[in-house]
């Protein structure tokens, strides 16, 4: 049996010709067209005729006609495989009727495309004319390759028996049939066959040759599903597909660096933040799962970034500083995840936009209200102007959110609030422990956003705030220090009113402005000791971006911080960092400091984004900070660079699929003003200047696959002019700028980017952070040094609305300070307080045992027609590891043991949203 190729004569796409012919006919008789006809004929765009009394004479266009057909060589491999194909070409025919160019419009592969092109270039046409004048044109042409039996050979056997492929499409959550879904079957020759599901959600394709077929099912608003099915001769292969809605809501980007202005880029999407076990969906707490961020003690909400103290990292909300990030130091963050648009996290070497800090930066951006309308079962639509709401409750708080359009065009709003309810169950616990509760611990936060967004600008007004407080009377003072007894109160509150305006003034000039005013109140008192701060904070930023040349953009801006404040501290002198315990506070008379002044700290910065080639980006910058309170001005130059050693996939040539390799690095100077107690005339040393740090970093990012990326970065921080304790002329310890230090480390992140089913990463940090109080002092490990930090986490969508995730951490133990070993006495009896005062050895010289913990989380979501309900169970410390968080001693410090951390803690939450 031999199959010989044959050729089919000329075939011209009927639809295209019909369009052209119709246009010509209509232009001839003046009748109006259904619309403009993009015939693709160069130099001749036919427009719909407009009826007019005195219409000018319309041109007469004659299409080219084929005069010579060239037979293409049938691709041998395709012939052997018995394949047939139609190749759709676009032919450019010149004024002489020659084909000067042949492009394949729809590739079919298997050698057919090349063969058709070669043949088509040898076609000959009569040229197209316009009013008799030859014109060049571009026309579609379908070249068909079919196989027939050679005359004289045996009769072809019957065509292979075919099979049928059929199935249904359902909603993943409810198993409801989904009508109108597109089912695309890729035939073995690569051509697609498309069908649409009917009212019952079913589809069918008959007469398919046996073999494996790729089937793709998609529908707007749902995540596409692909699978491979096998068609067997004489059988029906049935497959049912279940589609899950595309997850709504914001995509939160946690960026170590937002190119092009920083070195390190870390990206966490909304789905990841919502599902990382052990974080209860708190966006800011998810930062603690990134490399370069050390594990804080217990449940503390501290950000310990690259070996720096928590006070060395600042948190902004859209450029405005906030005084606290977590309620009660770690319960939940003050801005709910649902209102976040992004979190930019810069562990170091950040842009000159930021200053006054030597560690890291977290800049949280609030999102524009969501008004995207959804269809049944959460399917996305193109419509806007709809309302959305959410109500959630878990073991410690409840929250509400409502967002939607305002009656004025392009204006939207969002309002949200949260209140804890731990006071309901904690109050009885405290009272049973002997305390009298005046105000049980309670926190709340609130946010209001009003947004106006156009294609070129965004104006946003916000008001947000937070309040934490409790007041109890401790009638059983702490035996270790009876000063912590009696009336104990704690309260922090702040509010901000903020306005942002972003716009493009022209194609090459952009402008971003932010003004924020607000008030901070912090109060802590116990017995006759207190700390009270009232602060009226004004922040203002403005930045211009100028594209001054191709590949060169200049950003320059002003950054103001103005804050009249009133602070009162009444406390005995606390130990300075690294100083041994000075004994119980109970019987020590307090000192008081009362200051009323205004912080005035303006800054100016400039950065140039230079991209001399498409691979290289260099960003030099500088920042000048002035602090009126210290009378110092600091100049901080910085430069970062990124070079794509291998560029990533080109969307125009996806078949090439190179994997991006980027080298990155930077060096910069960073200043951080001293803390309040360090310069206070009563408790500190006035006249101190800013801490100085030089950050160095060098790293590489490597795309391993489209889904997996590896990033490795080394960093070094050189710390000078650090505020530390040092003896003065009389031998007493005071603060001075003689401190030195360094931090060296390596971060690695192997990340599987979120796909339909899975996301996860492995993060590892190796670091060492040391300090010296003076140049001649011995070096010691910094309080927050953590040598190893390994985190492995992942979450997998099981389907039907179920998702399961886990996080495992193994971290070097924290540092603690032990008492003196024998034969020295470990403590002295401080007779005035009735307690013991430990006699401590070298500060932070004791490394606690290794920490390890497993957290698991399971989620279930039900999608209903007009709303969605979800619930989660998040279990921290699943195997109840008794992790050591500190050293514990008996009353006279003669016996030592370990203080363990949290036991297994389950957390349950439920949410309803529409």
């Amino acid at each position: 049996m031999v199959f010989a190729p044959t050729r089919v004569s000329l075939l011209v796409v009927a639809a295209v010709l019909a369009h052209v012919g119709l246009a010509v006919a209509q232009s001839d008789d003046g009748r109006s067209d259904q619309g403009a006809v993009p015939s693709g004929i160069s130099g001749a765009v036919v427009r719909p005729a407009e009826p007019a009394k005195d219409a000018p004479k319309k041109p007469v266009i004659v299409l080219p006609a084929l005069t010579h057909f060239e037979h293409a060589d049938y691709p041998p491999e395709a012939e052997k495989a018995g394949l047939q194909a139609d190749v759709l070409l676009k032919l450019t025919v010149d004024r002489e009727g020659n084909v000067t160019k042949a492009d394949v419009s729809e590739p079919v592969g298997n050698g057919f495309d090349e063969a058709a092109k070669v043949a088509a270039l040898k076609f000959k046409f009569t040229p197209a004319t316009r009013d008799g004048v030859p014109i060049p044109v571009v026309i579609p042409y379908r070249y068909s390759f079919t196989l027939t039996v050679k005359p004289g050979s045996e009769a072809l056997p019957p065509a292979p028996t075919t099979g049928n492929l059929l199935g249904g499409v359902r909603l993943a959550d409810t198993n409801t049939p989904l009508a109108g879904a597109n089912v695309t079957i890729t035939l073995p020759d690569g051509s697609p066959r498309q069908v649409v599901t009917d009212e019952t959600g079913n589809w069918r394709v008959d007469g398919l040759p046996p073999g494996k077929y790729k089937v793709r099912v998609e529908s707007p608003g749902f995540q596409a599903v692909e699978n491979q099915e096998e068609v067997v001769v004489g059988e029906e292969t049935e497959a049912t597909y279940r589609l899950a809605p595309v997850s709504e809501g914001i995509e939160i980007t946690v960026q170590g660096e937002r190119p092009p202005r920083e070195v390190t880029r870390r990206t966490i999407e909304r789905r990841e933040i919502d599902r990382i076990p052990g974080t209860s969906g708190d966006a800011l707490r998810s930062l603690q799962s990134l490399p370069g961020v050390a594990r804080p003690p217990g449940l503390a909400g501290l950000l310990i970034v690259r070996g720096s103290a928590p006070t060395d990292t600042q948190v902004y909300v859209d450029g405005a500083l906030v005084p606290l990030v977590y309620h009660f130091g770690g319960l939940s963050s003050v801005v709910p995840t649902e209102l976040l648009d992004k979190i930019d996290f810069y562990p170091g070497n950040f842009s000159a936009r930021y200053g006054r800090v030597g560690g890291g930066i977290v800049d949280v951006g609030l999102r524009s209200p969501d008004t995207q309308c959804t269809g049944p079962y959460g399917a996305a639509t193109d419509r806007k102007g709809c309302f959305h709401g959410m109500a959630q409750i878990d073991l410690i708080d409840g929250r509400l959110l409502l967002q939607g359009p305002l009656p004025v065009k392009d204006w939207t709003f969002a309002v949200a609030g949260r209140r804890s309810w731990i006071d309901a169950w904690l109050k009885p616990v405290l009272e049973s422990a002997g305390s009298s509760v005046t105000a049980a611990p309670v926190y709340y936060d609130y946010q209001l956003l009003v947004d106006h967004k156009t294609s070129s600008s965004r104006f946003s007004l916000r008001a947000f705030g937070s309040d934490d407080k409790f007041r109890i009377i401790v009638t059983d003072p702490a035996a270790q220090d009876p000063a912590f007894g009696g009336a104990l109160s704690f309260g922090t509150s702040f509010w901000r009113a903020q306005a942002l305006y972003e716009t493009d003034l022209s194609r090459s000039v952009s402008s971003n402005s932010m003004v924020s005013v607000g008030k901070d109140n912090v109060g802590f008192s116990v017995g006759n000791f207190l700390f009270s701060l009232n602060n009226f904070a004004v922040y203002a930023r403005h930045e211009f971006g100028f594209k001054i040349a191709p590949g060169v953009k200049l950003n320059t801006g002003l950054d103001f911080a103005i804050a009249p404040y009133d602070v009162t501290v009444r406390f005995p002198q606390p130990p300075r960092p690294g100083e041994p315990d000075s004994g119980p506070f109970a019987a020590r008379p307090p000192k008081e400091s009362h200051e009323k002044a205004t912080v005035f700290r303006p800054a100016w910065y400039a950065e140039a984004e230079i991209q001399p080639t498409s691979r290289l980006r260099v960003i030099p910058g500088a920042r000048v900070d002035y602090a009126r309170d210290s009378g110092h001005a600091d100049f901080a130059p910085r430069v970062v660079a990124r070079y794509d050693l291998v560029k990533g996939a080109d969307p125009d040539h996806p078949e090439l699929q190179p994997r991006r390799t980027t080298l990155k690095g930077g060096v910069g100077v960073f200043y951080q003003p001293p803390q309040f107690q360090e310069t206070n005339p009563v408790f500190g040393t006035p006249g101190l200047s800013s801490n100085r740090a030089i950050h160095y970093s060098l790293g590489v990012e490597q795309e391993l696959t489209r889904q997996v990326e590896l990033s490795v970065e080394g960093f070094y921080k050189d710390l000078t002019n650090q505020v530390s304790r040092a003896p003065n002329a009389s031998g007493a310890y005071t603060y001075s700028n003689q401190g030195l230090g360094s931090v060296i480390g390596l971060e690695a992140l192997l990340k599987y980017k979120p796909s339909k089913r899975f996301f996860g990463w492995i993060a590892y940090t190796l670091s060492r952070s040391v300090r010296r109080d003076t140049a001649s002092s011995p070096e010691y490990l910094f309080q927050y040094d953590q040598t190893h930090n390994l985190i492995m986490l992942g979450s997998y969508r099981l389907g039907r609305g179920w998702e399961f995730g886990g996080r495992f951490r193994i971290v070097s133990g924290s540092l603690d300070t032990a008492v003196l070993p024998r034969p020295a006495l470990p403590a002295l009896y401080a007779a005035d307080s009735g307690a013991y005062s430990p006699l401590q050895g070298k500060a932070f010289d004791t490394r606690l045992p290794l920490f390890h913990q497993l957290d698991l989380r399971i989620d279930k979501r039900w999608q209903f027609k007009s709303w969605r309900f979800s619930t989660y169970l998040d279990i921290q410390n699943v195997y109840n590891n008794a992790a050591v968080e500190g050293l514990s001693y008996n009353y006279n410090y003669s016996r030592q043991s370990y203080q363990t951390g949290i036991p297994i803690i389950p957390s349950l939450g439920m949410r309803g949203e529409f």
Binding site: L302, Q314, A483, G486, P580, A587, Y891, N892, P903
Partner: protein, 356 residues
Amino acid sequence: MRSAIRGVLARCSVLLSLLSLGCGPGFDPPSELHSLRVLGVQKDLPYAQPGQTVNLEMLWQDASPLAGRPIKVAWSPPCFDPVGDLYYACFSDPGAFGSMLGTPDVANPEHASFDVPADIISRRPPADGSNNAPYGITYVFFALCAGDFTLLPSSADTAFPVGCKDANGTLLGSDDFVAGYTSIYSFETFSNNNPLIDGFEFRGKPVPKPGFCVKDDCLPLDGSEPAVDFDCNDPNHPEQSARCVPTCADDGDPKCPGYAIRPTIDQANAANHDQDDVSAKLLGRKVGEQMWINYYTDAGGFKSPVRLLNDATSGWNDNYGTEFYAPKTPGLSRIWAIAHDNRGGVAWSGITLKVQ
């Protein structure tokens, strides 16, 4: 100001996180005496003005199984205005502690005195310009040793320079060697009274003399003296039966019945509502003292071993007593109540119960 807020909140965050920690180890509470212990040091002038003489008295107890053994008590010379007001700065002159090795005053080992220099305030660095009252500070160290004192080589800036060795020259540990310090602040015009304890209440009723002791009367409850036994059924002293309680198999646990106890402290007495002069000067208004009571026993336990007596903000807490849980072993149980104020004032009283 961000730095001030972040600094305070960082410390509070750590504190709050520590409050969220899991269980700690089961150490014996400090209120239960099982070894050589100092319970209080009283100064007749808790705030002493320049030129005044301060007399100190110590209350201690050897509650170890070896009670009755000889205990040496020693005091250091006063240490005036150490660098940074830090008590361990006094250790920079270890030789000054050599006198502790000498022969103690065997007649009154629990007593000492010193004179406050006239320039204790004026010789300090100038004031910082704030409203804080200028002051001077004196530290006096004391030690109790169930052996012989010895000077130790300096191993660290904070190491106490004196040790205690037994007859074999082996250094003794915290169960047999106790050291401590008391501080005496000196202001130009401020003074302070010790709290005043008038009596003792047991099961809600006053204990008649000699059923309780106050300060110097507490000799039977002091040092190595054994407890004085009494007859619960003595017809000549029917009041003694009120101080008799049954044993409890749980040995001082909260499962045992609790017996209300407290020293009698009269709020109306001026000594018991002194003004905290330092805080008052800072605040510009009257401020009371912070006062609390430490309870101790050598047999049994307490529901709350430390109780608030007066809070500078919320005032007097009349519910300053606690509950005593009897031990499982019959015998005598001695209880001490040490009242403190936050300006170095101390007073003590005690009672003996019979557990049968």
